[in-house]
Symmetry: C2
């Protein structure tokens, strides 16, 4: 029988593996590691970095447990119980505006009353549109999903479009990816199979991000392009602080603030009523911040 | 009988007056005015500025009406009705880190079922502690309140401490000020008297901010001091996007995004797990981000 401890240990090794690969590519990255404990039970291993090519980022692992907060049991419509949650979360803000921001999360959750599920996803937020890369990102995610269920990619792609959406801006956070939650239970695949799926998604992170980083990290950029990156980052801040349920929940329930807010960019700019020039590469990016774009079959 | 239109017109003139005074002091401020309409009824006059001493800010007036959103009628426990809401909102982010950020809001609300109330407040967020100025700010607010009710200042000061609080950081947004809401109704002062109170608070804004701006706008500052300002601004962003009910409500109910987010700073910085040096002026500021400090009777 697959135990929560086994899943959590694997996630820890995933964190190690990703950190190692990022250090190799960045050339100058060093992680600051913080081990922390949660008064109610469990804790985490947060790793923050400021590198040469990764301007700011975090690769965090945690495994927390204890009595389930009343707000959640109510929300789920279940009886009071104890929970266990373990996962790896990553957000990387690159130095170069031609490298996208990336986010990954893979997590496992269970209660002592027999409920359990997996959740996660990978999504990408470019500052400049690159349709070849968008095709590559989505094809790689589709391939990862198709090995398990051909219904996964279309479903989880739409879920990401809907989830990573700034309602107040009427725009998506980026070009999306996949997002899934509460995967498991009656009529679903076995826990073992879904754990394999978690592993596959976890291992897809570097497959996607390393090429994006390698291919673009040395590209020349202007001050204006860097400014556009700062402006786009402010939208990233807005999404995470206003709409992201995970962030909201963490801050609301006394989670470890610095680990939750590792998703914040190093620097961001707000300008009143700013819009890019029509026909500019910035406007081209803006125009693609929409739900429902099929980046796999788009004619380039 | 005091009409909502009369209150709204006065608020408009307050906006004009404050803008004029800010232009005079800044020396190089120019307001970008946007007139906007709300599909469901009413609209606003948003004025944004980027000046020499005021790096970014907004002085917004609005008067909106229509059917009350169901989320609010439910929250208030009242029957569906039409509402009318008018107010002036200000946030100013100064160039010089020795000038504080200031926020003011005065608003009037009524329903077609006979409910009405006033709300508002002024609060100040310095980047560096200046106890003399903190004393001046709070004394001026107390004086404004005392002319109406000696119970107002203590009550509204505590309300501000509780409202402008970053629960996830365990710190207040700044050194507070006053905050009040739902002022009016049975057992309360008359609408005329409370309108006078609104006027007094509205007119207190320049009395407080102009000296802070004038006295500090030319002070020399280092790059490190500017960086600290950027770091403090990220906390301002966090408060407004995570905890501020007005912002949340506006973004949730399809308010005018650019007017709501005029409170965002021009530029902000996040650093993982940052803490100022013990004994530094930055740490001195941080140490005063607490509820319940009596800035009027503090020994300086």
């Amino acid at each position: 029988m697959l135990s929560k401890e086994h899943i959590s240990e694997w996630l820890k090794s995933l964190q190690d593996d990703i950190c190692k690969q990022l250090i190799d590519v960045d050339g100058n990255a060093e992680f600051t590691e913080d081990l922390w404990e949660r008064p109610e039970g469990g804790g985490g291993r947060s790793r923050a970095l400021e590198g040469k090519h990764i301007e700011k980022g975090g690769v965090n692992w945690s495994a927390v447990h204890g009595p389930m907060p009343a707000t959640i049991t109510k929300g789920l419509g279940i009886e009071p119980c104890d929970f266990y949650a373990t996962g790896v979360s990553i957000v990387l803000h690159p130095q170069n505006p031609f490298v996208p921001i990336i986010h990954m999360n893979v997590r496992y959750f269970e209660t002592n009353t027999g409920l359990w599920w997996f959740g996660g996803g990978i999504d990408v937020t470019p500052h400049y549109l690159n349709l070849k890369e968008a095709h590559f990102i989505h094809s790689t995610l589709k391939e990862a999903c198709d090995g398990f269920d051909p219904a996964y990619y279309p479903k989880f792609k739409t879920w990401a479009d809907d989830y990573f959406y700034l309602k107040h801006r009427k725009e998506t956070r980026g070009i999306g990816g996949i997002f899934y939650d509460r995967l498991g239970g009656e009529g679903e695949k076995s826990k073992e199979e879904l754990f394999d799926f978690m592993k596959t998604i976890g291992n897809t992170f570097c497959k996607i991000y390393l090429p994006l980083l390698k291919n673009n990290k040395e590209r020349k950029f202007t001050e204006d392009e860097k400014e556009w990156q700062y402006l786009r980052r402010s939208r990233y801040v807005e999404f995470n602080l206003v709409w992201d349920r995970g962030t909201k929940f963490g801050l609301d329930t006394d989670g470890r603030t610095e680990s939750i807010l590792m998703s914040m960019p190093p620097m961001a700019i707000w300008k009143y009523n700013y819009a890019p020039e029509p026909g500019s590469p910035e406007m081209e990016m803006q125009d693609y911040l929409k739900k429902g774009i099929d980046f796999i079959n788009l004619e380039i």
